[in-house]
Symmetry: C2
Subunit: 492 residues, 2 copies
């Protein structure tokens, strides 16, 4: 009956890999580095999509769809961007297979169907989109252009992990065009805030909003806003990024607009994205040695009802009560599953839903019928209580709110207690090795120091927090003067 | 001010291509055969997706996501399927670009990054999915497996047209596994019915449900159910297909299950899909020489309000009334846009929304304010009426229902009057050339005759209608005996 899940304390990484598969979220596929997102995992992603999509539309964005392929000549137009992604591109070179003349029933690439120009499978869509925007933008009347796309992208990663780093992943990418620099910066900041609000309220994952250093920026961006989360093993995870792209893509693709005064100017751009990586953040922040723990706001079903019975007569009587509860809960917009399958025992089901992180489990047995009660079990605290049947809806409503809040608070307490200020490099290294988490340290602002620290410790600068207070100090590594602390961490 | 749209009677094909672009639905991209779906077009597709997704879930299906790439060895496993798609596959052969040593700033495919096994960009996902199902199905308890995927697919078509035939397109593909043949056939039929209901109720496009002949079947299917629609130029369009796949994929990928009695048997399969091609069907069925005509059930906004004013004072007064109407309509779940942009004149806006097919337009000018009326214009009939302000919500609600119904009825009248029974091949050819539409004719049931007729007339058998009545007769081409009529047509 055990879940045979490796304990987090034994091997956090193994625990994660096992959990993703055992909780039916995703699995590796026959294609190197590509995952299959299973129905239960996909249902969580759909809930994320629905809410993000709502938030994007509320802030004036529209969805569109751009091609999967980027012709090589467009791909290389914005040099930094091209350089940043060239090493991990899947490239389509042919458009036909043919029967292998030497091997019946097998196919080979038809050498006569070679493309004149190779096509890159989009690792991100700035190039193809800005090439399109050129035709859409003529005048200030066409601005701002606020567009989002839900899509799959491919980055040929060498070391992959389900949800966290896969060759193909699902994401959304916003691409906006503006008349002024200020407006574009405000947009990048706004969308980073949208991400922060979403991740905190739905994933119940606290994040730090910040700016990336130059070396950690998106290839082709002038500034990258980000939200950084902390996992239970003390490693950071970048949960979303929003880029101010300056006029880089407008210049690379010659996208100009006529101002009100009739002058021709290059437009200003942003792009921003979150991906199925958020699934990794969700799983690693809350789950425990018993399995997944889901915040009610993203659970495919918030409540599961398991009948405990010995014969059909008992099941019938329990089903009547269960169905009443199902109806009541649905009327209150609470999603619920009544698992009356006769193919599995109650103990198996308890185990299964614990592993799958269903926020609340309702058990109903013959004794409950007599007493007109049900047993309510919370997944987050693993506590149980008996509740009178007529109080179920109210109690469940309240508990779902409590669980959502509790998960966030627990994660925040952990995160806050894992931001450690250090004064020198010895302390830096010690905290990193013994405690982990974010290290708040002075840095001299040079890429040289940043690289050296990364080389020596594997820690990178996760961000320069947006709410940073100025503080005079000296760089932990070089001793050069610094006027603010930045956050270092080992990261996913 | 004119729309400069080619007339349907002049050149239907040109009219379609112009309309798709001018109504802001889609455009060609820099990638051969791939389209950009613009926000207005994508908003219609999103509405289709939302309703279909609801219908799939209501019939017990769950969404999941499978890889974009199919390793060549999996792709070729089901021979008929592989043979059917091999000639139109985009193939990934390399996973990296590198700087061109002979051409600064340019990239070339890195010959050292050649994949050991080529990856086919999915033209359809049976192969990758059935290879996955092998791990998911062990026992009758795992069946039925009812899964759908929303995805992009690539088929390297030589002649492409926006929405109708593009190298990359968006679609959904359902893939189900069943314990018995009967159950799988029932599923294929059920999903074909779901498609028919959706297309008739939402696109307002009448369809004929039928079965494909062997030569028109999906590669790898034992039976293909389909829905066939008729466009205004008398050509048919296949709007959706649902396949009974027998045990073909189960055998190719060795997917067996233990029956209740403990025997090992291959499972039975279906797959079914509709795509962005539905956008083409929608556009071509209802639109006219003035532009797009949208059924209210799929219009991104069902009502547009255009203020007619000469100065700010008038606009302010009109806006007050307009905003009241906006609120009232939204309370009744009617989507509405108030276009108060000062950058465009009312005449321009009237033209624009006619072109974009908005079902109802409300015009409000200073005289309307005096009389407490508004002007209501129907896009489908191009008729106008004045309505008292307090009656707007009720009138609009009723008109939206009328328009939805009227579009369907009009299309059905046209379609029904374009199903012509013919008795011999002379009549067949004459009707095909002069009238077009579906030709109901006796056929001897052989692929030979079917091919010959196609060769001579370009007409194919669109389907053997499911509700066909038996009727003795002789094949229009061969004169051999036949016991039912089938539908021929030229098709998109």
């Amino acid at each position: 009956m055990g879940k045979n899940l490796t304990k987090r304390s034994e091997d956090y990484s193994k625990w994660y890999n096992e959990l993703v598969v055992k909780a039916d979220l995703a699995e590796n596929s026959a294609v190197r580095g590509c995952m299959v997102i299973k129905p239960y995992g996909f249902a969580i992603w759909e809930k994320m999509q629905a809410e993000l999509d709502r938030m994007f539309k509320e802030t004036g964005h529209q969805n569109a769809y751009f091609p999967l392929f980027v012709p090589k000549s467009l791909f290389e137009a914005e040099e930094k961007n091209a350089e940043g992604f060239a090493k991990e591109c899947a490239v389509v070179t042919h458009y036909r297979l043919k029967t292998d003349p030497n091997n019946e029933g097998k196919l080979i690439v038809d050498p006569e169907a070679k493309l004149q120009e190779e096509l890159v499978v989009r690792p991100t869509s700035e190039a193809i989109i800005w090439n399109t925007y050129k035709g859409w933008i003529q005048s200030y009347r066409d601005l701002p252009l606020l567009i989002n796309q839900w899509a799959n992208v491919v980055r040929w990663e060498m070391r992959t992990r389900l949800f966290l780093r896969t060759a193909e992943f699902l994401w959304q990418e916003g691409h906006t065009a503006h008349a002024t620099k200020e407006e574009a910066i405000a947009e990048a900041d706004l969308m980073n805030n949208v991400y922060a609000t979403f991740v905190e309220n739905f994933l119940a994952v606290p994040v730090i909003k910040g700016l990336k250093t130059e070396s950690e920026r998106f290839a082709g961006a002038d500034e990258t806003y980000c939200i950084e989360a902390l996992m239970q093993d003390g490693k950071a995870l970048q949960a979303g990024t929003s880029h101010f792209l300056g006029q880089n893509f407008a210049k690379a693709f010659d996208v100009k607009f006529a101002t009100k005064e009739g002058k021709q100017e290059h437009v200003w751009a942003t792009s921003w994205g979150v991906s199925t990586r958020l699934m990794g953040a969700l799983i690693m922040t809350h789950s425990d040695d018993q399995g997944l723990v889901l915040p009610p706001n993203l659970a495919p079903y918030q409540v599961v009802i398991v009948p405990i019975y010995r014969n059909q007569e008992q099941l019938d009587a329990i089903s009547q009560v269960a169905n009443e509860i199902v109806n009541d809960l649905r009327l209150h917009n609470i999603s619920v599953k009544f698992d009356n399958r006769d193919t599995h025992k109650p103990g198996w089901k308890f185990n299964e839903y614990e592993l799958k992180g269903v926020p609340l489990r309702i058990g109903i047995g013959p004794k409950d019928l007599e007493k007109r009660t049900v047993e309510l079990a919370r997944r987050d605290t693993l506590t149980k209580e008996f509740v009178a049947k007529e109080d179920v809806v109210e109690t469940v409503s309240q508990l779902l709110k409590d669980i959502q809040e509790n998960l966030y608070n627990k994660a925040k307490t952990y995160r806050d207690s894992h931001i450690t200020e250090v004064q020198n490099f010895e302390e830096f290294k010690e905290v990193l090795e013994t405690k982990g988490g974010f290290i708040s340290a002075h840095w001299d602002g040079t890429a040289e120091t940043e690289n050296k620290i990364k080389e020596l410790t594997k820690a990178t600068i996760r961000c320069i927090p947006l709410d940073n207070s100025k503080e005079e100090g000296v760089c932990v590594y070089s001793g050069a003067p610094s006027n603010e602390r930045v956050l270092f961490a080992k990261a996913y």
